[in-house]
């Protein structure tokens, strides 16, 4: 029996879908059997980020309504054979399914997969309730902005009521120089406020945008620091203890040399 993990944030645009795609892919790279479930009915994105849009035949709503079997709707990712996607419908809206239906689908998926990663829509309405229904654990994504942290706090409150275990926190799009200058909320500040366990800190990285546009999750590359951060998150989910990586890019010899002479 696998575990269902919902990835949620409250606020939109903080990187839920990107986080779902990358954590899911990273877990698959570790040989885990992973199914990504997109519950953002009407505004599906996960298939686009995963580069699987053109392979959708059936979707989540079809499965819920019994129009097809679960197996028919699952899209196997050709790049990693242990990774599958259950896409959302684009033509309906959140009220097309009920929390009970999602719970049933996730329960079925858990029998087959080690990890069922549920991508939650923004907001706290029906879509959120649907996404949370089948989850055993929750990952809350936030960015170091006041508004995002406020919404994360609200979501954690709601998750506590849903009895979805203690959520874990991913702080996304961190710009180390802004944090250092005090222009951005500090990791410590965020943890102090939200008072939940930190799962990982992902630096702001253009490579993530580029790879999402290409339909290749960033973790597939070894070039970017964001990829490394997502890999570390996956390892922590698997129970390894991985220290937080330093936020700063390691300075090259030339930069050190320049700094030494105050040239900057």
């Amino acid at each position: 029996m696998g575990i269902g993990i919902v990835v949620t944030s409250g606020k939109g645009g903080v990187g839920k879908t990107t986080t779902s795609a990358n954590i899911g892919t990273a877990l698959a790279l570790h040989g885990q059997k992973v199914c990504l479930v997109d519950t953002d009915i009407g505004l599906r994105n996960l298939d686009v980020v995963m580069g699987l849009e053109n392979r959708i035949i059936y979707d989540l709503v079809d499965v819920a309504e019994g129009a097809c079997r679960l197996q028919q709707a699952l899209i196997k990712d050709k790049r990693f054979e242990t990774l599958s996607l259950l896409p959302a419908a684009q033509t309906k809206d959140k009220s097309a399914v009920t929390p009970e239906q999602i719970e049933e689908i996730v329960t079925q998926l858990k029998r087959e997969f080690d990890y069922v990663i549920i991508d939650c829509p923004a907001g706290i309405e029906q879509g959120f309730k649907n996404a949370v229904a089948g989850a055993d654990q929750a990952i809350v994504v936030t960015t170091p902005e006041k508004a995002a942290v406020r919404d994360a706090d609200r979501i954690i409150g709601l998750l506590e009521r849903e009895k979805v275990g203690m959520p874990k926190l991913v702080i996304n799009r961190v710009r180390s120089h802004m944090m250092k200058n005090g222009d951005m909320l500090d990791v410590e500040d965020i943890l102090d406020l939200l008072a939940i366990d930190l799962l990982g800190v992902v630096p702001d990285d253009e490579f993530v945008i580029k790879s999402a546009n290409q339909g290749e999750p960033a973790v597939m590359s070894h070039e970017s620091r964001a990829s490394l951060a997502y890999r570390n998150i996956a390892r922590r989910l698997l129970g390894e203890s991985v220290p937080l990586m330093p936020m700063e890019e390691k300075a090259g010899v030339l930069t050190k040399f320049r700094k030494f002479f105050g040239l900057k």
Partner: protein, 223 residues
Amino acid sequence: MSTVTNKVTIKGTKDGLVFYMDDTCSFDDLVADLREKIEHSHQQILTGPLVRVSIKLGNRYCSAEQQEQLTDIIRQKGNLVIHTIDADVITKEEAFAERLKTSFKIQTHTVRSGQVLEFDGDVLLLGDVNPGGTVKSTGSIYVIGNLRGIAHAGTNGDHEVIIAAASMQPTQLRIAEVISRPGEEWAEVTGATEFAYLQEGKMLVAKMNYLSRVRPDLGEKKR
């Protein structure tokens, strides 16, 4: 009913009539006497313009049905309006509820954004109140943690209550009907251990060691 002695004493006050009910006889005797007085013997006195009636039950505990029975009899007279029913005794449950209201409530809870905690009486909150979260109480609010959200003490209009926090950095403070934000009436948020109180209708925030001067009898109040 010839042996009925006086179980119900009716007295006139400037606020209307007061019915003193004997608390040593049986309830049935009481009802019988009340019925007798209302329906027969006191006809003349009890007619006329609208009169407010208070019922004093003394040391007799009356259930809701029994109270209903008494008021029904009195209401037969269209001009008698029941104002209050008082007894000097209450049940253990009521007493317990009363005690809960006046005793400390200890809560271990993080009040997160969008959550509202409401209480009767004084509250000791062991946890944080995050921005967007609200704690309300009819009494005082003491937060052992960070108060970053909204605290509203004395929601029934009590001006004597205070709001205290181990780390005072609220978005807003309210005591009774007075609303205050940091940076207005009081200085910038320092996050220190402070308390807020009302003085002549204005909210002030001070260091905790000042409390004994401002509210010297705060600790004694409940005893």
